[in-house]
């Protein structure tokens, strides 16, 4: 689904250049949910932006196995980035409106998404009236609106409190299983990475590259039992040790 070949990124500035990503490759199969973790500044967000087409790689290739879709990816930003002058429903409808989907169809789709994401009753609220967690729900619904096969998420839950975060993790896991999307999740939380991923990709400190890919064998669906299971806790401590070694 996503093939990244020998990708590298260098940022040039007045004070010299910074190598953000060293050449590396990775592959993500259809329907997987891959978590990417790494120390701050390792270029994991840059990688995501390159895959999304928001930035050009300095060298290397990206191939998305999505035929010739105009919008192959849905993107969820760190803090929602809703249009503040539009209501929740209008924000979710925005990708549909701008690709010429008629109201009769988009109304139905927006209703479905609001139900899927659990925002019933807030259709006509403005973003400023929502909590951080609810904004992020709306942002996920918007990313899913025109049904892209790939969902890219850039630390989507880092701005919400821990309890909300766990709830949103459960919801994301459910939505992923329900929709069968290929999801790439950048996070700095090892718990989140292990809980959600079918794979966890660990990146090295700057200049970033893929250091290790860990298969996650935790059974689906993931829920409270997962969080208490020995396998999960082992995986979390393994990841945590890895991160500690890198940042030491």
């Amino acid at each position: 689904m996503i093939t990244v070949q020998q990708i590298a990124k260098t940022f040039g500035g007045k004070e010299g250049t910074v190598v953000a990503l060293e050449p590396f490759s990775l592959e993500i199969a259809e329907g997987e949910l891959v978590s990417i973790i790494g120390p701050s500044g390792c270029g994991k967000s840059t990688l995501l932006r390159i895959i999304a087409g928001l930035e050009e790689p300095t060298s290397g290739n990206i191939a998305l196995g999505t035929a010739d879709l105009k919008r192959p990816v849905g993107f969820v930003f760190q803090d929602a980035v809703l249009l503040p002058w539009k209501t929740v429903a209008e924000n979710i409808r925005f990708p549909l409106d701008t690709s010429g989907v008629p109201r009769s169809q988009s109304d139905e789709k927006v209703r479905e998404l609001i139900k899927l994401i659990g925002l019933e009753g807030f259709e006509n609220a403005l973003p400023r009236q929502l909590s951080g967690g609810m904004k992020q729900r709306a942002a996920i619904a918007r990313a899913l609106a025109d049904d892209p096969p790939i969902l890219l998420m850039d630390e989507p839950f880092s701005a919400v409190d821990l309890l909300t975060r766990e709830t949103l993790n459960d919801e994301l896991s459910r939505i992923w299983q329900q929709t069968g999307k290929t999801i790439l999740l950048v996070t700095h939380s090892v718990d989140e990475a292990a809980y959600l991923g079918t794979k966890v990709m660990v990146m090295s400190p700057r200049p970033g590259r893929l250091k290790k890919t860990i298969e996650v064998d935790l059974p689906l669906p993931r829920d409270e039992h997962t969080r208490r299971s020995a396998e999960y806790l082992d995986l979390v401590s393994e990841l945590r040790n890895m991160m500690r070694e890198m940042t030491a």
């Binding site: 928001l54 930003f77 980035v81 690709s99």
Partner: protein, 255 residues
């Protein structure tokens, strides 16, 4: 709502106080009538002018010029700001000349504008437009440059067309900045309209003022000033109402 009610009460109280002071100075204090006509005589003069059909054409003329100049100036201001925002490099080229034009005292240029554009309507509109243009331009450019870069990312991700970007992202996001400019521009438009009528023509509240001065009709002069102030207050109210309606998303958090 309570705050708004209170504000309008305070507003009304201030106006009443001012009217009382005026009445006191011209009545019990017995200031000479040709220096300070009484409120009653000013109202009576305005009433007479209204009755014989002279007043409304003057008011309409001034208001029409203000509105026309404000609209044209605002559209041009937003349009040039958008060009500068979109075309990289244009800002560097135009920044210098624009600063010179912006700091040039437009009011001092008014006689020149009349020489260039004649004694008619064109010169009046040009003067008002030149006064409105810069605050709106500056407000719009500041608004456009302050747009959250991730909104541009969103537009890129959705492959929005230039028109879709303008309508859905750039214009609404810079509306608060544009509004700051329009509010300043509206006051400038009023000043410009009156000034232009002082200098040429035989219509408008500005003309009424020069005519009243030349013929020592002080109550008429006061009446024209009073109406000008009322127009300014009405514009302020209309703009505030418009802002409340279109920019409610931009006000601080609700509880």
């Amino acid at each position: 709502m309570n705050g708004r009610l209170r504000a309008s009460l305070e507003y009304a109280a201030a106006l009443l106080l001012l009217a009382f002071a005026w009445w006191y100075a011209s009545g019990p204090m017995a200031m000479p009538h040709y220096l300070l006509p009484s409120p009653q005589s000013v109202v009576a003069t305005l009433w007479d002018l209204l009755q014989d059909g002279q007043l409304l054409p003057h008011v309409a003329f001034t208001v029409k010029n203000i509105v026309l100049g404000l609209v044209i100036g605002a559209v041009l201001g937003v349009a040039l700001a958008y060009l500068l925002f979109k075309i990289s490099g244009l800002a560097e080229v135009l920044e210098g000349p624009l600063v010179v034009l912006q700091t040039a005292p437009k009011i001092a240029l008014a006689p020149l504008i009349i020489i260039w554009f004649g004694l008619g309507l064109t010169a009046k509109i040009v003067l008002i437009v030149s006064l409105v243009f810069f605050p709106v331009f500056a407000g719009a450019l500041a608004g456009l440059r302050a747009i959250d870069s991730r909104l541009h990312d969103l537009a890129d991700l959705l492959h929005l067309s230039p028109l879709q970007r303008l309508v859905n992202i750039d214009l609404p996001a810079s509306l608060p900045g544009i509004f700051v400019g329009v509010k300043i521009g509206a006051i400038q438009a009023l000043v410009g309209a009156i000034l232009a009528e002082w200098m040429s023509g035989a219509q408008g509240l500005g003309y009424m003022m020069t005519f009243a001065t030349a013929t020592y009709k002080t109550p008429m002069l006061f009446g024209a000033v009073l109406l000008t102030a009322l127009i300014g207050m009405a514009m302020h109210a209309v703009l505030n109402e418009t802002e409340a309606r279109f920019l409610s998303w931009n006000t601080p958090d609700e509880p």
